[in-house]
Each structure stands twice: as structure tokens, then as C-alpha cells.
């Protein structure tokens, strides 16, 4: 199982990402954890390492950019790919995210297929091989 952390304060966006990735047409062998805020992400990150972190940029308190910077400074998460979710309008924030070390971004709104493609691309680039099907208890 490859662990993916979704950091997003909107419950339905989280549900959309989770259901898209975990559905039969989604990405095989992934386990999605949800963080409801930047703080929640800080709490969940030590349970990693995660194969991929997907984070919204605009969140109250700790924003997505701060999370990217935090992860890039951390031994455990330095190499974890980070996919930013942002709105079309916030080009500037997106560029900042990429400069801070995010691996890519998805502009909202995005279709399920685009999400799956992007996630697969990042998982591949991180070189995280899926565990053999026999070991994962996925049914």
C-alpha cells in the first residue's frame, strides 16, 4: 500500500479525491489519509512516510506553502512528492509553491481523470513501487 495524504479543509473535496483515487478506476494500491488543516497535516505527517502529499494552498493558519516549506526542511519528508491544489486565479501562489519545492499542481476545478493521471505520474517519479498484490489486503 502506498500512503497518500490529502490536506484540504473542504470535506467534500477530500471525499472527492479519496473516492476518485480509491475507486476501481483509480490508482491501484493506495491508501488515502485525510488531514483537515495544516495543523492536522503536521499531526499526521509523522505517521508517514507518505508516497505523496496532496495539499490545498489556501487554508487558514498554516497554509499549503508553509506545509511545503516545512516538509522540504524535514528529514523524513524531504523527498516526498507534493501536489498542490489551487484555483486558476492564484498563479502567484502556485509559482511560490513550486519554488518552495512542490512537485506539481492541479488547478481547481479538476476532473477525476486529471487527478488520477497526475497522482500516478508523481508516484512513478518518486520511484515508489507498489507492494505485490498478495501483500496488500485490498479487496
Amino acid at each position: 500500500m502506498r500512503k497518500i495524504l490529502v490536506v484540504e479543509d473542504s470535506a467534500s473535496t477530500r471525499a472527492f479525491v479519496r473516492s476518485t483515487l480509491e475507486s476501481a478506476q483509480g490508482v491501484p494500491d493506495v491508501e488515502v489519509s485525510e488531514a483537515t488543516s495544516g495543523f492536522d497535516a503536521l499531526r499526521l505527517l509523522p505517521r508517514g512516510p507518505y508516497a505523496l502529499v496532496i495539499t490545498d494552498i489556501n487554508m487558514p493558519d498554516i497554509n499549503g506553502l508553509e506545509l511545503v516549506q516545512f516538509m522540504r526542511k524535514s528529514e523524513l519528508h524531504r523527498a516526498t512528492p507534493i501536489l498542490l491544489i489551487s484555483t486558476q486565479s492564484s498563479e502567484r501562489d502556485r509559482q511560490r509553491g513550486l519554488r518552495l519545492g512542490a512537485s506539481g499542481y492541479l488547478a481547481k476545478p479538476f476532473a477525476g481523470k486529471a487527478l488520477i493521471d497526475e497522482v500516478e505520474r508523481h508516484l512513478r517519479s518518486a520511484g515508489v513501487a507498489p507492494t505485490p498484490a498478495g501483500e496488500s489486503g485490498r479487496g
Binding site: S12, F16, L67, S74, E75, R96
Partner: protein, 698 residues
């Protein structure tokens, strides 16, 4: 089974509904704040975020009309929050209208209808008209010494808020706050609520790697009109460090080159309007958001692990010494000499290492004293008593783990002193005392111990009342009470129920039982004494080990073996003449000052065989007390007091109850450290089992 995306869609509709309701409440607040003349920027941002989320959701779930409207509204609110537009009544009206339209559109979505919506079209037209007036403001002109890596993580909105605050001549502060991850939500809300009265928190930045699994440090960038002292007064705490971020004193024309990582932001404020608070030019290199400290934070458990390694090495050292001894016996002079040299060097380094680790664990007691100073002020006010707090020795250092556990007992003691000790000012005047009562907190080091005194100049403890109460509670026989010395009577306040009040007082309820304080101090391996003079005052003295890694113990002999009993649990030792004990309910007991004391013969309980020496005619009883429970441990000899390092028992022995660990005795032998709490528990509650076992071996 429901289609997961169908489930997600249900989730979308209910979340969208919630967001619209929040937006509606939010607009009402915004309306109220606009009427009062001071629009709260946080409210506009919340409205923006609500619409922003709605837009994202509408996109994900293909709700076009909802998406289109949210998109326009988002632009409007973005202009408002970024200061490109001002919030007038017509804008507010439009926003309120949007809430209505959202309601209709969501109802349509839920029913799966896609009718034309004149209300939505009308709103879009209104939004179109509003969108075009965009007065933009120029940024003011002094640079702050902000860390570029901070500027790089600000979102556009946060950057705008920073700029807006600087335009209003706010000062900038960095608050480094350590949060416990399990309580961060509450702690953060609390922090925000307090900060709100003094300014605006612009962002929260996790500061580097998590310090431990359950704590994290955040850098809060805050703008405030208040000076540093005011902010420290309002927000200061043990886990908060507040620093002002100075203005950079740059002359006109030498604007620094554009830093690529600083993004697009140049933070400027008008230097000429508010002169720099710092006249000192050296502050140009003053504190920035970058950490200047050379310190690392270490989880104390890691130090515990290191200390264990030291203990292991001490045992290795013992083996080397034995080996040297054997070589000497075999006449290998040269090898012996070399090995002994090695051994001495090893021993020295080991001692240095142990001292080094202990030193790292030490923190000044001032950490807890500062907290107590606030408590004293507060309780004094509550009780309308004027209290002067005098602190000495706050630089005295003690093990971090102990400091953490000290604040509660000390707080209880101080409460008791103010509540029961210090007289009301009119009574003080009658006996010629100054109106303000004095509480002194003194700390100092004495050998391997730290002494903390809590002293008050109040009325002192009424011995007679204490004695009467102890007798009434059945803690002591009336006839024995008469024989007690003054110290012994005072010590009765540590028995449960004796120190508590009959009447409930507001400050300490019935009074925090001193027995609880004593138990807590005991858990830290410490002891507490009381001295009191009627009319003059009371002094409680806590004696604590400097560290929990080293413990003072009473070393005893039982059946040729050495055992260590932590001194903090030992209340006294006495000799046991043969024939003095008697059987009561199948248990061996003696009478000690009118009270029955159950005995425990460890040699029998543990099945120790006496090979070398027969049982002595005369034994000793070590009275072990934990809270109100006492047990006499019968031993052969008392060896004396020794400071020991407790080593955990190996895994195979970990489940054996009754031992806290083992310790090296210094003469190449290992002694077991008795876990007094477990033994008292075992003997006083599971007496039957132990008696059986005792009979088997006895």
C-alpha cells in the same frame, strides 16, 4: 452498495449548504462591524474562503451555475480582502443577495433540475457592475528585516495583510510558540482569541522539524500597535517567546536588490512618520525571523536512553576491575598495571559523561517560579489579600522532568499559604505586621539535592487544632498524641484529611490536602518538611534529588544480599528486638507510637536462603510509607545511605513485581532496588498470596 462518487456528491451538497449558512452568518457579522466603522479583515477573508471553497466544489461536481456565480463573487471578495476595493453598503447588499441565490441553486442541484434562474442572472449582472472600481494603494517605504524564507511562504492574502498592517504603522513581532500536538486546536484558538485584542496574526509557520513526536513549534508573525512589554504581558507564557522584528534602517536610494525568493513583496513603511524604536545602529543586524540560537531541542527520553547506556558501561567498568583483580592474583604484574590504568581512565571518562548528560537535563527553577508569580497575584486578588512574593534562587537548576511535576505541588502549597496562613490585613495590623503578607520562594542546591522553601509570614499552624483533628479522624490515639513532639504534631498535617478545612473556602475548596502534595513530591523522590511558629509563619521545605536518574537510597542487608530502598519512601528505621512483634489476623505486626504497623519479611517473601550467616538475633525495621499506607520492612542490617543510578532490569525480569531496577554497588556487585510502592501494594492488599508464599519458604 452506493456509488462512492454518489456518496461524495451527497457530501458536496451538504457541505455546500453548510458553507452558505456560514457565509450568511459571516456577512451579518461583517455588516455589524462595517456599521461600527471598523471592518474586521478576518471576516472578509472568511467570506472569501467560503466562496472560494464553493467554487472549487462546484467545479469538482460539475455544478456550472453555482461555479459561475462563485467565480464572480470570489473575484469581488478577493478585491475586498486584498484592499483593492472598499466595503460599501451596496457591496454588502449584493453579498446578501448572493446568499439567497446560493440557496436556490443548491435546491435545484439537490433535485437535479437545471431551470433558468432569473435571480442568478440578475446577481451576475450586479457583480459585473461592482467589479470595475478598483482603487489600488501604493505601498509605503521602510524595509523590515524579514527573513526571505518567511516572505516566500506567504499567500497573496497574507502578504496583503502584512502590507496593510505596516501601512497603519503597526509593529511586527515574531512569536515562537511550542504547541502540544494533542491540544494544539484548543491552545491555538485560545492564543488567537488573546492575540486578537492586540493585533493581527498574519501567518503561522511551522518552525523546522518537529521537536518531538507530540510537540511542534510555530512561528507566528503578528502585527500589533502595542509595544513588546505589553505583548509579553498579554501573550507571554512558558511556551511562548516573543521578539520584535526591527525595521531595517536603509537610506533612500540603496534599496536592496530584488531577492528572487522574496517573491514580489517589498515590505515598506514610512520611516519619517514613526522613527525607529531602536536608535542603535547595530540593530541593523538585529534579530530577524531567522533563528540565531545555537541550541538544539532534545526529547528527554533520548537522554534517559543515554543515561541507561552509562549504567551499562558502569557494569562493564566493574568487569574490567574484576579482571584486573584476577590478573593481579595470578601475578601478571605488568598486565595488571596496564589494565588498571585503562580502568582508571575509563572510570574518569564515564563519570564525566554521566555528569555531562545530567547537566543537559538541567533547567532553572525560574521556569516554574515565573508561573507561580502569576498564581500568587491571581489568588491574592481573589482573596483580597495583599501579597508580596519574594523569590530567591530561581537560577537553581534541576532535572527537567522534576520541574514539570513541581508546579502543581508548589501551587497547592502557595494557595494554602495565602488561604490559611496569611491573615487578613486588619488582623495583621493588630499584631503589628505589615499589611501585605509575604510569601518567599527560596531555592538552593545542597549536595546532590535541591531545596525549595515556601515560607509565609502568616499566623502559623495551630498545633492543638491539628492534633485534635488527627485524633478525631482516628489517625492517632488520643493518649499517644500527648506524647508527640512539636515536630511530630506538625508532621500530622501530611496525613489525609488533617490539613483540609471544615468550611469550604473559595480559593482552595476544602484546602488541597497536604497529603496529596506529599505524595506528589514523594513520586519525584523528594521529601517535605514543615516548620511553623504560631503568629510568625510557616515554612515548608521540599528536598528533591537533582535528578531522577540518580536516587538517594537506604542500603540494607537481607540474607547476605544488598538491597536499595529509595530514601524518598523511607520514613524511619528502628531496631526490632526479638519478641516485640505479635500476630494480628495472621499477619506479623508491631505497635509503633500507638498505631499498628504490619511487617514484611522480605527474606521469606522472596525465598532468600541464608547460606553464609544465620539470621541475626536482632533485626531492623525500615518503615516505608506511601501516602497513608505504611509497611515495616524487616532487614538484617542497615548499611547506610548511598546515591545510586537505577538501571532497568532486563526483559526477562521486567515482569517481576517488587523491584524498581538494579544498581551497581561500587564494589563490583549488583544490588536490587526495591519498588516500595509495589511491595506495599502487594503486602497490604494481596496479603494472602504473600503469606502462602512466605509459609512455603519460611
Amino acid at each position: 452498495m452506493a456509488d462512492p462518487t454518489e456518496k461524495a456528491r451527497d457530501e458536496f451538497l451538504s457541505e455546500a449548504q453548510e458553507i452558505v449558512e456560514t457565509l450568511s452568518r459571516n456577512l451579518l457579522d461583517l455588516d455589524a462591524s462595517a456599521r461600527s466603522g471598523a471592518v474586521d479583515p478576518a471576516l472578509i477573508n472568511e467570506a472569501f474562503r467560503a466562496v472560494h471553497t464553493l467554487k472549487g466544489l462546484a467545479g469538482l461536481f460539475g455544478a456550472q451555475r453555482l461555479g459561475q456565480m462563485s467565480h464572480r463573487l470570489e473575484d469581488l471578495l478577493d478585491d475586498l480582502r486584498l484592499g483593492r476595493m472598499t466595503l460599501g453598503p451596496d457591496v454588502l447588499d449584493t453579498l446578501f443577495a448572493a446568499v439567497d441565490v446560493y440557496g436556490r441553486l443548491l435546491a435545484q442541484e439537490r433535485e437535479g433540475r437545471d431551470d433558468p434562474s432569473p435571480a442568478a442572472d440578475e446577481l451576475l449582472a450586479r457583480l459585473e457592475k461592482l467589479g470595475s472600481e478598483a482603487p489600488s494603494r501604493a505601498a509605503p517605504a521602510t524595509e523590515y528585516d524579514l527573513d526571505p524564507s518567511l516572505l516566500a511562504v506567504l499567500t497573496e492574502y497574507e502578504e496583503h495583510r502584512l502590507r496593510a498592517n505596516l501601512e497603519q504603522k503597526m509593529r511586527l513581532y515574531r512569536l515562537r510558540v511550542e504547541f502540544d500536538l494533542t491540544t494544539i486546536d484548543k491552545a491555538l484558538e485560545d492564543m488567537k482569541a488573546r492575540a486578537k485584542r492586540h493585533g493581527e496574526i498574519i501567518t503561522y509557520l511551522p518552525a523546522g522539524e518537529a521537536t518531538s513526536a507530540d510537540a511542534i513549534e510555530l512561528d507566528l508573525l503578528m502585527a500589533s500597535r502595542d509595544d513588546l512589554a505589553t505583548l509579553i504581558g498579554a501573550l507571554g507564557a512558558d511556551n511562548v517567546v516573543i521578539e520584535e522584528i526591527p525595521r531595517k534602517r536603509t537610506s533612500v536610494g540603496t534599496a536592496p536588490p530584488h531577492k528572487p525568493y522574496a517573491g514580489d513583496l517589498v515590505v515598506r513603511a514610512d520611516e519619517s512618520v514613526r522613527p525607529s524604536v531602536h536608535g542603535d545602529a547595530s540593530l541593523e543586524q538585529g534579530p530577524s525571523l531567522r533563528s540565531l540560537t545555537q541550541t538544539v531541542r532534545v526529547d528527554i527520553r533520548k537522554l534517559d536512553a543515554l543515561m541507561n547506556v552509562v549504567g551499562e558501561l558502569a557494569i562493564v567498568r566493574g568487569s574490567i576491575a574484576r579482571m584486573a583483580e584476577r590478573l593481579r592474583a595470578e601475578g601478571q604484574r605488568q598486565l595488571t598495571a596496564e589494565l588498571q590504568r585503562l580502568h582508571r581512565s575509563f572510570e574518569r571518562r564515564l563519570a564525566e559523561m554521566q555528569a555531562g548528560i545530567l547537566e543537559v537535563r538541567m533547567v532553572p527553577l525560574g521556569q516554574v517560579f515565573d508561573r507561580l508569580a502569576r498564581v500568587v497575584r491571581q489568588i491574592g486578588r481573589e482573596m483580597s489579600k495583599e501579597i508580596r512574593l519574594v523569590i530567591t534562587g530561581s537560577e537553581t537548576e534541576i532535572d527537567k522532568l522534576i520541574v514539570e511535576e513541581l508546579s502543581d505541588p508548589l501551587m497547592h502549597m502557595i494557595r494554602n499559604a495565602i488561604d490559611h496562613g496569611i491573615e487578613p490585613s486588619n488582623l495583621r495590623a493588630e499584631v503589628g505586621k505589615p499589611p501585605a503578607g509575604t510569601i518567599a520562594l527560596n531555592a538552593y542546591q545542597k549536595g546532590n539535592h535541591v531545596m525549595i522553601e515556601v515560607e509565609d509570614d502568616g499566623r502559623g499552624i495551630d498545633e492543638q487544632a491539628v492534633l485534635e483533628k488527627a485524633v478525631r479522624l482516628g489517625k492517632i490515639a488520643a493518649e499517644d498524641g500527648a506524647e508527640l513532639s512539636r515536630e511530630e504534631v506538625l508532621a500530622l498535617v501530611f496525613l489525609p484529611g488533617v490539613s483540609t478545612r471544615e468550611a469550604v473556602s473559595e480559593t482552595s475548596g476544602r484546602g488541597v490536602g497536604m497529603d496529596i502534595v506529599k505524595t506528589n513530591i514523594g513520586r519525584l523522590g523528594g521529601i517535605i518538611d514543615v516548620q511553623s511558629e504560631p503568629g510568625i509563619g510557616t515554612k515548608m521545605t521540599i528536598t528533591l534529588p537533582i535528578t531522577l536518574a540518580i536516587v538517594s537510597a537506604l542500603m540494607v542487608h537481607i540474607a547476605d544480599q544488598v538491597f536499595a530502598i529509595p530514601l524518598s519512601t523511607v520514613s524511619e528505621a528502628l531496631s526490632l528486638e526479638p519478641g516485640l512483634s505479635r500476630m494480628l489476623d495472621g499477619r506479623e505486626v508491631i505497635t509503633l507510637r500507638g498505631a499498628t504497623l504490619p511487617l514484611c519479611r522480605l527474606d521469606r517473601v522472596l525465598g532468600l536462603e541464608r547460606r553464609k550467616t544465620p539470621a541475626p538475633r536482632k533485626h531492623y525495621v525500615v518503615v516505608v510509607s506511601l501516602g497513608n499506607r505504611r509497611l515495616g520492612v524487616v532487614v538484617d542490617h542497615l548499611i547506610g545511605q548511598q546515591d545510586i543510578v537505577i538501571k532497568p532490569l532486563g526483559r526477562s525480569l521486567a515482569s517481576v513485581r517488587g523491584f524498581a531496577g538494579a544498581t551497581e554497588l561500587g564494589d563490583q556487585r549488583v544490588g536490587l532496588v526495591l519498588d516500595a510502592a509495589a511491595i506495599v501494594d502487594e503486602v497490604l492488599s494481596g496479603a494472602d498470596v504473600l503469606r502462602e508464599r512466605g509459609a512455603l519458604h519460611g
